[in-house]
Amino acid sequence: MSSIRDIAIPDPGLLRFKRLQLGVVVLGILVILAFAGSSANDAWRSYRYTLAANQRELNNIANALAEQTVWSLQAVDLLLLDTASWYRSEGASTPPDQLEATLAARTAGVPQVRRVTIMDARGNQIYRSQDFAGPNFNVADRSYFIAQRDHPEGGMFMSELLTTRSEGRAAVILSRRLDDAQGHFNGIVAANVDLEDLDQLYRTIDVGAGSAIQLLRDDGTLLVRNPRLAEVIGHPFPALARAPQHAFDEVLNPITGHRDFIAVANVRHSPLRLAVTRDAGIALQPWRDETIRAAIRTLIVALLSALMLAIVLRQITRIASGQRALRESEERYALAMEGANEGHWDWDAATDRLFFSPRMRALDGQGAEALTSGAAWRAGVNMHPGDRARFEAALRDHFEGRRPRFECEYRVRHADGEWHWLLARGRCLFGADRKPVRFVGSAVDITVQKQAEMDKDQLESQLRQSQKMEAIGTLAGGIAHDFNNVLGAILGYGELALQHAAEDQQLRRYLDNVLHAAERAKLLVERILGFSRSGLGDRVLVHVQAVVIETLELLEPTLPAAIRIESSLTAGTAAVMADPTYLHQVTMNLCTNGVQAMSGGGVLKVGLDRMELFETRTLSRGSLTPGHYVRISVADTGVGIAPAHLERIFDPFFTTKKVGEGTGLGLSLVHGIVADLGGAIDVRSSIGAGTCFEIWLPVAGEAQIPRPESADWLPQGNGETLMIVDDERPLVELAEEIVAGLGYEPVGFSSSVAALDAFRAAPDRFAAVVTDESMPELSGTDMIAEFRQLRPRLPVILMSGHGDARLARRAAEVGIDEVLRKPLHRRDLAQAIARVLKTPG
């Protein structure tokens, strides 16, 4: 049962499946992590890049605008210098009207300058490029005047943001010192740069959403902001004026309250700073959008990966469970096959490849080597010749579509020489062209069932036989009853008739023949009664071995030279309850049968032994219950019995011998007697090899008295010549053989007249005479009477088939020494001859 053990151990397939599952999960997670990591890295890099780009952009803008502011201031300064120079050289000579016009003309070329004003040394406005209604103010308290007055070498000065006294507008004033010819302070020339106008410089520049341009003084005062935000102009925002420490610094923008990126550039030669800010949130918005998109992408990819992972896992599970189911199915199938003790085959028609399961190989019995092709199987299979044609026909019937399934019972011989019955069933798969493609099936050993079937058949046949025998027996019993009545009447009245016809010789002869015939009929009826179980006889304990020995002693002298007897008698004192005469007949008939089967010579094996049965056994004829048995076996090496005849050999009057050679009652007598004794018969025969009969008789006890005389010693003769007379030639020969075997010299005659002639020719030649009584020409007693006239004391033994009082009287008249009953027994004859020869002749 290896398959069952396989189920119990951990399944390597299951382990592999678990590992695969784990591997797939880990791989999937790694892929997702790698993707997420890559995305995070991208986002980080993108963040850095965005910062750098913003910073660069802001720096560039700041620098460019600072430069532009420088240029713008330089233009104002140039205007101031030029105006100062012009005023020094020509101011005094020019009328005030023209002077102001000239100032206006000069100022018109510099749009960022609202007006140019000239103040005297005390700070009073004296000329203005732009005329408007209003008084001329004194600016002596203003920073741009004080700076120029107090610092002769100060150059251009830029004021803080202030509100002009003339117009009340926010503006920055740039000033230069006016010196007289002696180099004394003679006032200032100031350019009013209105914040509105300054604003124009930056208005057109779009620095993007969330971004702003701030122009501040170095103290943080906001001068200009683009986009404009009027309410914060003039307020101090020192945080914006400080240059950042690091490239990517952020600053909390005090104007907006947002965190901003910032770039600050100094405006050369001035106390101005240009700061460009950009809302960090807005600056990073594209990056943030991109990052969100990337995150969504990553998430989607991760989800898809997870989904695929799940699908793969599910698929793996399905495959694994499918494999498990397949394996279980295979196991179940294998177990079922094993349980049913079936083997199976699978043949591929195209390649002739053949698969045999181990059990199938065992069933097929072709030995251990693996069969790989249908041709090899055909070549090697040891199929019973009687089954081959049927097998091929069944195969053809199925392959050619006449039968839906292949089914065949056939025998194969295994290596140990045993024949096994197999039942093979299968089905062929056909291709589109109706040609066999694949042939699959299974086989099972049905030897036991077949045997049981055969046993059953045999039992049924036995039952039929025994019923038949019983019917015949009953019939025979009835016939015997009536026949015996008839024979009794013939014999009885015949005898009475004989008594009353004493004088008439001719009538006596006729009556004698009638009686003679009736005697023969009587013998026949006796035989019929033998096999009829309705006959009733005496039963005593019979020592079986003694009976068999006696039979062999009687038989041996009559055997042809070519036949030899081998006996093995080991039953000891086993005895059966039987009529000894009948038991004797059983053994004699079997031996005679065996001898007759060996016309060409041979060995007659006679065996006798004790057997003990522990279970019921069925023989060819009859069944035996458990118990002690004595077994008589008689085996010949003769022609054997044809199977067709084997059934009928025990039937009365069934004989294969020529008419006249056998009565056909021998074996039916054996059967009747054995069955009557509660025994059974077994017959085995094969044509040409011989036949073996076994008689099983129940042991009834042990023989109490062993045979008084030695079984193998008989009185022997010493070459004395004996005359033997009987009208039946075979009986003469039988007697001759017995006598010769005892050491006498027999001279046989089958005619009493011829015997009388021979005796008259030489009366002293014969030591004794053995003669039959009933003979046609001259009866035995009449012949003896003639002999006695020549030799009155001649020893005579008379044999008679039917002894009666008349014969006894006649024998006494003639002076017969011994009267022997037929059939002739060797022992009786030997003893009788010994007795008559002892009396002086």
């Binding site: 015997a480 015996n484 009545n485 009794g488 009447a489 009885g492 006796e526 006959g535 009733l536 005496d538």
Partner: protein
């Protein structure tokens, strides 16, 4: 000399019955035939000779019936279904509860020997 013994013969077969009667009368016995269906009608006798048909089956019952009609009378059973060679007073006789058995076909000598043996007479 005492009166001749009285023998009753139960035998269906008339030839055999006739033969038996002839033998026994010649030997000096008084003989009469019995009827199996009405056994014992003719009163007591000294010996019964009963023919047994199917001694293994219905025969013994038939013998017992006749014995019951003649209590204490010795019986010689004769049958065509006794096997030859059986002893006159052997196991078969015991099995049938009779004094003697004689197999058919009968011989005069054997039958008369049996009759003499039982009745203590001699021929």
């Amino acid at each position: 000399m005492k009166a001749p013994a009285h023998v009753v013969i139960y035998e269906e077969d008339f030839l055999t019955r006739g033969l038996l009667e002839e033998w026994l009368r010649e030997a000096g016995y008084r003989v009469r035939s019995g009827n199996t269906c009405d056994a014992g009608r003719d009163g007591p006798c000294d010996l019964l000779i009963v023919s047994v048909y199917m001694p293994k089956h219905t025969g013994p019952q038939c013998v017992r019936d006749i014995q019951a009609a003649h209590p204490g009378t010795p019986v010689i059973a004769i049958s065509g279904q006794f096997r030859p060679g059986l002893a006159a007073a052997g196991t078969t006789a015991q099995a049938l509860s009779v004094q003697q058995v004689v197999a058919k076909p009968l011989t005069r000598q054997k039958l008369l020997d049996c009759v003499h043996g039982i009745l203590g007479t001699s021929s």
